[in-house]
Symmetry: C2
Subunit: 104 residues, 2 copies
Protein backbone atom coordinates (compact mmCIF):
# COMPACT_ATOMS: atom_id res chain seq x y z
CA UNK A 1 0.00 0.00 0.00
CA UNK A 2 1.14 3.55 -0.70
CA UNK A 3 -0.47 6.76 0.52
CA UNK A 4 -0.68 10.05 -1.29
CA UNK A 5 -0.69 12.53 1.58
CA UNK A 6 -1.98 16.08 1.20
CA UNK A 7 -1.36 18.50 4.07
CA UNK A 8 -3.45 21.65 3.80
CA UNK A 9 -2.27 24.81 5.52
CA UNK A 10 -4.68 26.72 7.76
CA UNK A 11 -7.19 28.42 5.42
CA UNK A 12 -8.32 31.99 5.87
CA UNK A 13 -11.94 30.84 5.83
CA UNK A 14 -12.25 27.33 7.25
CA UNK A 15 -15.99 27.06 6.59
CA UNK A 16 -15.54 27.92 2.90
CA UNK A 17 -12.61 25.49 2.69
CA UNK A 18 -14.65 22.69 4.27
CA UNK A 19 -17.58 23.29 1.94
CA UNK A 20 -15.37 23.31 -1.16
CA UNK A 21 -13.49 20.22 -0.05
CA UNK A 22 -16.69 18.31 0.66
CA UNK A 23 -18.80 19.45 -2.28
CA UNK A 24 -16.24 19.88 -5.05
CA UNK A 25 -12.85 18.36 -4.27
CA UNK A 26 -13.85 15.08 -2.60
CA UNK A 27 -16.15 14.09 -5.49
CA UNK A 28 -13.20 14.52 -7.89
CA UNK A 29 -10.92 12.48 -5.64
CA UNK A 30 -13.49 9.69 -5.45
CA UNK A 31 -13.20 9.38 -9.25
CA UNK A 32 -9.47 8.53 -9.11
CA UNK A 33 -8.91 5.15 -10.74
CA UNK A 34 -7.34 2.56 -8.40
CA UNK A 35 -8.24 4.51 -5.26
CA UNK A 36 -8.56 2.17 -2.25
CA UNK A 37 -9.64 4.70 0.36
CA UNK A 38 -9.45 8.24 1.67
CA UNK A 39 -8.98 9.22 5.29
CA UNK A 40 -9.52 12.84 6.30
CA UNK A 41 -8.10 13.94 9.63
CA UNK A 42 -8.03 17.36 11.20
CA UNK A 43 -4.60 18.35 12.44
CA UNK A 44 -4.11 19.60 15.98
CA UNK A 45 -1.18 21.42 17.51
CA UNK A 46 1.23 20.18 20.13
CA UNK A 47 2.65 21.83 23.23
CA UNK A 48 0.29 24.78 23.06
CA UNK A 49 1.34 25.71 19.53
CA UNK A 50 -1.19 25.71 16.68
CA UNK A 51 -0.79 23.06 14.02
CA UNK A 52 0.84 24.29 10.82
CA UNK A 53 -1.75 22.19 8.99
CA UNK A 54 -5.51 22.28 9.00
CA UNK A 55 -6.39 19.01 7.31
CA UNK A 56 -4.56 15.85 6.31
CA UNK A 57 -5.99 13.78 3.44
CA UNK A 58 -4.51 10.28 3.05
CA UNK A 59 -5.41 8.56 -0.23
CA UNK A 60 -4.48 4.88 -0.45
CA UNK A 61 -3.46 2.84 -3.48
CA UNK A 62 -2.13 -0.68 -3.89
CA UNK A 63 1.13 0.45 -5.46
CA UNK A 64 3.08 3.49 -6.57
CA UNK A 65 2.33 2.72 -10.21
CA UNK A 66 -1.42 2.67 -9.50
CA UNK A 67 -1.08 6.01 -7.69
CA UNK A 68 0.82 7.50 -10.64
CA UNK A 69 -1.87 6.19 -13.00
CA UNK A 70 -4.51 7.96 -10.89
CA UNK A 71 -2.57 11.24 -10.95
CA UNK A 72 -2.25 11.03 -14.74
CA UNK A 73 -5.95 10.30 -15.21
CA UNK A 74 -8.57 12.89 -16.10
CA UNK A 75 -9.71 13.01 -12.44
CA UNK A 76 -6.11 13.39 -11.28
CA UNK A 77 -5.52 16.33 -13.57
CA UNK A 78 -8.85 17.89 -12.59
CA UNK A 79 -8.04 17.59 -8.88
CA UNK A 80 -4.72 19.36 -9.50
CA UNK A 81 -6.53 22.23 -11.18
CA UNK A 82 -9.13 22.33 -8.41
CA UNK A 83 -6.42 22.50 -5.72
CA UNK A 84 -5.40 25.86 -7.12
CA UNK A 85 -8.91 27.22 -6.66
CA UNK A 86 -9.41 26.47 -2.97
CA UNK A 87 -6.02 25.69 -1.39
CA UNK A 88 -4.55 29.17 -1.76
CA UNK A 89 -3.13 28.95 1.77
CA UNK A 90 -0.91 26.17 0.49
CA UNK A 91 -0.85 22.42 0.31
CA UNK A 92 2.07 20.01 0.62
CA UNK A 93 1.93 16.70 -1.24
CA UNK A 94 4.11 13.64 -0.77
CA UNK A 95 3.93 9.88 -1.07
CA UNK A 96 4.44 7.45 1.81
CA UNK A 97 5.49 3.97 0.75
CA UNK A 98 3.94 1.84 3.47
CA UNK A 99 5.29 -1.35 1.92
CA UNK A 100 8.72 -0.12 3.01
CA UNK A 101 7.55 1.16 6.41
CA UNK A 102 9.23 -0.14 9.54
CA UNK A 103 8.41 -0.11 13.21
CA UNK A 104 10.80 1.95 15.30
CA UNK B 1 -6.49 6.40 18.36
CA UNK B 2 -4.46 9.57 17.86
CA UNK B 3 -1.18 9.90 16.00
CA UNK B 4 1.70 12.21 16.80
CA UNK B 5 3.18 12.83 13.36
CA UNK B 6 6.74 14.06 12.87
CA UNK B 7 7.78 15.14 9.37
CA UNK B 8 11.53 15.49 9.01
CA UNK B 9 12.92 17.75 6.30
CA UNK B 10 15.60 16.40 3.97
CA UNK B 11 18.81 16.18 6.04
CA UNK B 12 22.19 17.30 4.74
CA UNK B 13 23.65 13.90 5.62
CA UNK B 14 20.99 11.19 5.31
CA UNK B 15 23.30 8.41 6.54
CA UNK B 16 24.15 10.31 9.72
CA UNK B 17 20.47 11.15 10.22
CA UNK B 18 19.45 7.52 9.80
CA UNK B 19 22.09 6.32 12.25
CA UNK B 20 21.11 8.89 14.87
CA UNK B 21 17.42 8.17 14.46
CA UNK B 22 17.94 4.41 14.77
CA UNK B 23 20.54 4.34 17.52
CA UNK B 24 19.62 7.33 19.67
CA UNK B 25 16.18 8.77 18.91
CA UNK B 26 14.12 5.61 18.40
CA UNK B 27 15.24 4.11 21.75
CA UNK B 28 14.00 7.28 23.49
CA UNK B 29 10.68 7.16 21.62
CA UNK B 30 10.21 3.52 22.62
CA UNK B 31 10.31 4.64 26.26
CA UNK B 32 7.25 6.92 25.85
CA UNK B 33 4.56 5.82 28.28
CA UNK B 34 1.26 4.80 26.60
CA UNK B 35 2.91 4.38 23.18
CA UNK B 36 0.94 1.89 21.05
CA UNK B 37 3.16 1.81 17.99
CA UNK B 38 5.53 3.66 15.72
CA UNK B 39 5.49 3.57 11.94
CA UNK B 40 8.42 5.00 10.01
CA UNK B 41 7.89 5.75 6.34
CA UNK B 42 10.21 7.36 3.86
CA UNK B 43 8.59 10.18 1.92
CA UNK B 44 8.74 10.25 -1.86
CA UNK B 45 8.02 13.09 -4.23
CA UNK B 46 5.18 13.44 -6.69
CA UNK B 47 5.09 14.58 -10.28
CA UNK B 48 8.86 14.59 -10.67
CA UNK B 49 9.36 16.96 -7.74
CA UNK B 50 11.38 15.86 -4.69
CA UNK B 51 9.49 15.37 -1.45
CA UNK B 52 9.81 18.25 1.00
CA UNK B 53 10.12 15.59 3.70
CA UNK B 54 12.62 12.81 4.18
CA UNK B 55 10.95 10.70 6.85
CA UNK B 56 7.52 10.51 8.45
CA UNK B 57 7.26 9.04 11.95
CA UNK B 58 3.73 8.20 13.14
CA UNK B 59 3.46 7.45 16.86
CA UNK B 60 0.11 6.04 18.01
CA UNK B 61 -1.67 6.49 21.33
CA UNK B 62 -5.11 5.53 22.55
CA UNK B 63 -6.14 9.12 23.25
CA UNK B 64 -4.95 12.70 23.16
CA UNK B 65 -4.56 12.71 26.95
CA UNK B 66 -2.28 9.65 26.80
CA UNK B 67 -0.23 11.36 24.08
CA UNK B 68 0.08 14.53 26.18
CA UNK B 69 1.14 12.40 29.17
CA UNK B 70 3.88 10.84 27.02
CA UNK B 71 5.11 14.26 25.88
CA UNK B 72 5.27 15.47 29.48
CA UNK B 73 7.17 12.38 30.64
CA UNK B 74 10.92 12.19 31.11
CA UNK B 75 11.24 10.35 27.77
CA UNK B 76 9.06 12.96 26.07
CA UNK B 77 11.22 15.80 27.30
CA UNK B 78 14.40 13.92 26.38
CA UNK B 79 13.15 13.30 22.84
CA UNK B 80 12.43 17.01 22.45
CA UNK B 81 16.01 17.81 23.47
CA UNK B 82 17.36 15.11 21.18
CA UNK B 83 15.39 16.49 18.19
CA UNK B 84 17.44 19.65 18.43
CA UNK B 85 20.68 17.66 18.07
CA UNK B 86 19.92 15.78 14.86
CA UNK B 87 16.96 17.41 13.12
CA UNK B 88 18.68 20.68 12.28
CA UNK B 89 17.13 20.62 8.80
CA UNK B 90 13.77 21.03 10.51
CA UNK B 91 10.91 18.91 11.75
CA UNK B 92 7.18 19.60 11.74
CA UNK B 93 5.01 18.10 14.47
CA UNK B 94 1.26 17.79 14.62
CA UNK B 95 -1.43 15.53 16.00
CA UNK B 96 -3.98 13.64 13.91
CA UNK B 97 -7.12 12.68 15.77
CA UNK B 98 -8.10 9.46 14.03
CA UNK B 99 -11.16 9.07 16.22
CA UNK B 100 -12.58 12.05 14.35
CA UNK B 101 -11.34 10.94 10.94
CA UNK B 102 -13.82 10.55 8.12
CA UNK B 103 -13.78 8.89 4.76
CA UNK B 104 -14.04 11.30 1.85
Amino acid sequence: MVRLIALYNQPDDPAAFDAHYRDVHAPIVRRYPNLRGVRLTTADGLGGRPSPFYLMAEMSFDSRSELDEAMASEAGRESGRDLRTFAQAGVTLFVADDAAATDA
